[in-house]
Point group: C2
Chain length 228, copies 2
DNA sequence: GCTCATTCGTCAGTCGTTCACATATTCTTT
DNA sequence: AAAGAATATGTGAACGACTGACGAATGAGC
């Protein structure tokens, strides 16, 4: 998973790769704008390809499907987290802990909403629109459910590694499911109702606390790598 | 949700309804056979409709999509559980408890595999094949993820009702997520590896125990409606 | 500069799904 | 029993996402 990682870094990019990265970025940019303007269903691949001046077949060489293109902005930061989680060099030092990485991921997510920018309102509107489409279009549902599964699996594997358990450790899988489900639930509520005071980041993090608190104390200790 | 409930019961079925039920059942039967023979992708709607002697457009009036048709055998028993959970008459007496209903649902699921029948092997092979397709086809992913979401939401609402909490109670939602995720994880393992001794039912139920044990004791008491 | 692999465009096609409209079948009412 | 309402089904056409085969262009390496 998580194929792409070089954008600003890796200076020795060939011309070919630079062109590819450029079209890829352009595709995301144009599609996001068109989706916002005309809706997901209201935007055909042809519409997007007309502007980028490529054919739909070429677009599908960049993105697995229209849905994957639409979810690219959400997938990219998630891939970064997954890369971190899967990094074999990762040591359980300060900040290397899985739950800690998860917390920081949620902080970034939440801050994008909490810190008031000129674009924050648009950002939220986009998210709400997307959720509406994601409730309707099957391929979009599939792609985002795939996204969630990848996240859950990576979390589970990382948690299992932390505990020295086998990769498919059931306990770790359940904790991961709880963490991901909690994130989803908080986001859902936040998108449904106006903020009413609190911060999204705070809510997201408090659900992590909630989940961790409810683990058996000994396991929680190990998970958080608290020293005795 | 969960529209259909009358099959053997409700004696005063009109001719119209009987015919509908018949074609519906025939569609499921034929499609399941063809899927098993030629695979999901290898079976077109036309193939199915030729045998049942209707048009694809008519088929899509019975089932929302090809994927929904394929998942009908899984959806029907689940709908029965959801009906029970949503029943406003349900009282928290013996067997009325949400967790108890969930346990019985899992028992039925598990017994279909545990009790050795001539068809058990075929049944398991079908499930494995289905899981392979469900990993590939987007619409199938979407439909089964929708199925899981419906189950989780119904469980969450029922748990919330048990606790006298608002319908969208976060705690209940998380417990429901844990229960459903646990079920999925156990099934996955069971389908990956041969049984090796234990019973599927036992494994499914032990994950419920696991989840319930890890709730705060007071909440668990209330959830299980244990009398002081 | 030449070869080679990769990448892209074109063309044609499949399949699921939707829509509008006409037809047939069942239910209801008199 | 027959007329009329309601509902189910068939027909024909179309859309759009996606796939495959094939040839042309383009950048990479010698």
């Amino acid at each position: 998973m998580s194929v792409r990682a070089n954008e600003a870094n890796s200076p020795a990019t060939s011309l070919r790769e630079r062109k590819k990265a450029k079209t890829r970025a352009l595709l995301i940019e144009v599609s996001q704008r068109l989706f916002a303007e005309r809706g997901y269903d209201g935007t055909t691949l042809d519409d997007i390809c007309d502007e980028v001046e490529i054919t739909p077949q070429t677009l599908l060489r960049y993105f697995e499907s229209k849905a994957h293109l639409a979810l690219a902005p959400a997938r990219d930061p998630q891939d970064r987290l997954v890369d971190l989680l899967e990094d074999p060099e990762r040591e359980a030092g300060v900040g290397g802990d899985t739950i800690e990485l998860w917390r920081r991921f949620l902080e970034r997510e939440g801050d994008a909403v909490d810190t008031p920018t000129g674009l924050t309102t648009t950002y939220l509107q986009n998210l709400r629109a997307f959720r509406r489409w994601t409730d309707r279009d099957p391929v979009l549902i599939a792609a985002s459910s795939d996204l969630e599964r990848a996240l859950r699996d990576a979390l589970a594997a990382a948690l299992a590694a932390d505990r020295g358990a086998p990769t498919d450790d059931l306990h770790s899988m359940l904790i991961a499911a709880l963490l991901v489900a909690g994130r989803g639930a908080v986001w859902d509520r936040w998108l449904d109702r106006p903020p009413e005071g609190g911060s999204l980041t705070g809510d997201l993090l408090s659900v992590v606390d909630y989940a961790v608190e409810r683990l058996p104390r000994s396991s929680a200790r190990r998970l958080l790598r608290l020293v005795e």
